[in-house]
């Protein structure tokens, strides 16, 4: 089942007790599902076992290796609710992932509310995944070892690159 993955900030979603049915905080909506030109950026993966692909896509375009939270929503859900999806090239140094970027377009107040509710539901169903700093580095390391990515293409600091290089030299491939 194809999924759309997006990075969020867990702390903002837990500002209110969404587990007890409280409304999602405004900070969560204005920060985590902030739109540009009524569009929300996501990454498509084939199923939840492919989550590392979304992590790789997200991490390879970032300036820092910071822990983040990721949610994934069923593509069918969006299609059933008449959302419009648009494949657009994604900002990632991993060439084979560029085409997996999907924009949810033509969003409005109501549709954004549906997305917010479905993310809250992911929390309730314990389907929000925290991706730690070390996990991100492992995913990047693996992509480098498989020649999907060059470390020089990453925007992270030299010190962070050194840490990944060190992992490549000192440890067997881990996932």
């Amino acid at each position: 089942m194809a999924l759309l993955a997006r990075r969020i900030d867990k702390a903002l979603w837990l500002q209110t007790d969404i587990f007890k049915g409280e409304d999602v905080s405004a900070d969560a909506i204005t920060n985590c599902i902030k739109t540009k030109k009524n569009t929300l950026s996501t990454w498509k993966i084939k199923d939840s076992s492919s989550i590392n692909e979304a992590i790789l896509a997200l991490a390879s375009g970032a300036n820092h290796i910071d822990t983040f939270d990721i949610i994934y929503l069923d593509v069918d859900f969006f299609e059933n609710k008449n959302f419009k999806l648009d494949f657009t090239p994604g900002m990632t140094s991993v060439k084979d992932l560029v085409e997996t970027h999907v924009d949810i377009i033509n969003l409005d107040y109501k549709k954004l509310g549906i997305i917010a509710s479905s993310i809250a539901e992911q929390f309730i169903n314990n389907k929000v995944r925290r991706v730690t700093n070390l996990e991100i580095r492992k995913v990047l390391k693996e992509a480098i070892e498989k020649n999907r990515l060059s470390i020089e293409d990453l925007k992270i600091s030299d010190a962070s690159k050194e840490k990944i290089k060190k992992m490549c030299h000192q440890a067997p491939s881990a996932s």
């Binding site: 903002l12 997200l58 820092h64 822990t67």
Partner: protein
Amino acid sequence: MFKKSIPKFIIYDQKYDQNFLNIDNQDIYSINGHKYESNYFKVNQKSTESTNDTVLRESYESFKNHNKEKIIDALLLNDFEYGYNSTSEFIIQSLFKENSIFTKDLLNDIFISNFDNKIIIIGLLKTIAHFEYTDISPIGPTMALAALSYSDPEVQECGIRAYENWGHADSLKVLNKIKCEQEWLSQYINQVIEILEEELIIYGTTCTKN
């Protein structure tokens, strides 16, 4: 930062009192290696403070006056997104190049004087978490430690994140002693502890100096 309050027993000691007015100015402020200040001294500040101290104090005040508001504005107005650069990061990095000691003192000053402002505290923590541990020490780890006792879980999380990013062995000492009421934060602390331990075992060290 540059001076501490003088102990009362010295202020009222007549023997010292006499000497303060007469002895070599270089020694007056230095007691057990620390520098002291009191209203008593302020009368004679110009005559007793060493030229170097005066220059240093005035330079810092000038640095602070020029940059404090700029940093606070950036912290208040910036949208911080994990994984991405922020304006405040660029500003602070550029000040670091100018004078890292003054910059750290100023960040500490901003942190303490705005401790009741969650937005500023979160912005500062998110920013300093992107500096190398050795560069931002000792104020960075101290700020992160203070954040862990904050009443707001979002601020606490920023403190944990900072320790995670620095990946220093010292982080383990702190995180092993922290208890959070929020279950998700406790889980996160445990995750970070496991990561740091794993890195210590596999890679031998957790922190590399660039």
